[in-house]
């Protein structure tokens, strides 16, 4: 009996580790920015090059910052959903046009629709580095105090929108200035 028990235990432990390993995605690097203040930046707007957008202007509002580029294939797949979502007017979406050529970016928005209140031009990708962007698209959820509460890595899907983004945005919007709401309140954002 004991003869077979030890190999069995070893097998179960190894199998357990491998099973967990199967469900891990090495491409998903946990962001160290969750629950940290979003880095401040000032950038020009895509459609009004003379106007400046400053992230500090957004204090007091819950907003989304969606990192996109016309050269990014995965952005294309999430774009229709963003356009549709923006029409619901639940939360303002700003675009961070990451390392793109402005004329390409404009053409892209013209053909596929523009879900953004405004797109901010990060031509050199410096703001991207400040936000720890390592793949496009990425979507940051930022609360009224300017704290990053969640980051969606990769394209936003209807499932992510329904189970995480919308409920979390609602909770953040309801929160008063003093209360701290973390993403843990929404189960769909953690798992």
């Amino acid at each position: 009996m004991g003869r077979y028990l030890i190999p069995l235990i070893v097998f179960v432990v190894v199998a357990g580790f491998l099973w967990v390993g199967l469900s891990l995605d090495p491409r998903e690097v946990p962001s160290p920015f969750i629950n940290k203040p979003a880095p401040d930046f000032t950038l020009q707007k895509l459609y009004e090059p003379e106007a400046r957008f400053s992230s500090t202007d957004m204090k007091g509002k819950v907003w989304l910052l969606n990192v996109w580029a016309s050269w990014c294939v995965a952005c294309r797949s999430e774009h229709p959903l963003l356009v549709q979502f923006s029409r619901a007017n639940i939360v303002p979406i700003y675009g961070l046009n990451y390392k793109d050529v402005p004329s390409d970016a404009k053409r892209w928005l013209q053909t596929l629709g523009n879900p953004y209140i405004s797109s901010l031009v990060d031509y050199e990708g410096k703001v991207g580095i400040d936000y720890g962007v390592y793949g496009v698209p990425e979507t940051f959820i930022i609360d009224k105090q300017g704290v990053i509460r969640h980051k969606v890595i990769g394209p936003v899907t209807p499932a992510i929108l329904d189970s995480c983004v919308v409920p979390l945005v609602r909770k953040l919007q309801q929160a008063s200035a003093q209360t701290v709401v973390t993403r843990e309140v929404v189960e769909g954002c953690v798992s």
Binding site: P26, R27, V29, P30, S31, P32, F33, K99, E124, G125, G128, I129, D130, Y131, G132, Y134, G135
Partner: protein, 169 residues
Amino acid sequence: MKLRGVMVLLLLVFASAVIAKEAAPLAADPQLEKRVNKITAELRCLVCQNQTIADSHAGLAIDLKNQVRDMVRSGQTQDQIVDYMVQRYGDFVLYRPPVKKTTYLLWTGPFLLLAIGLTVLVVTLRKRRVVVQDDAPLSAEENERLRSMLQSDAQGQEGKKNKNEGGKS
């Protein structure tokens, strides 16, 4: 004829020596580039995760290399630059993970496995030695059993023989 072959061979050998040349550092300042390379060799490229930023040609890796170069030029130390990267990309960006609570198992795991393996090895060898030393003479009782076993075996053989002969007839 043979000489010509040798000449051709020599030419080929030296030709490669002429073409092969140490890759020149891109920057005008090789000292700076050396430091940049040293720092970026410690940082993981986030796009192609098994390469360092120094080795990678991914767009982001090149941007980060430029960022490191700017920071070195402005006089920041290696620790400051590494901290800057960790703040943005997390511990993941470090090729050598730091020793802390969440990485204890990672760092000690191989040694634990080695210890377990050695223990199993020692225990098994001890057991085997006991078996080998256990060659004491048989007791009277055991001798008796052995004899009866051999006897019954001899009888069995006999019986088999008879049976075979019986089948023939």
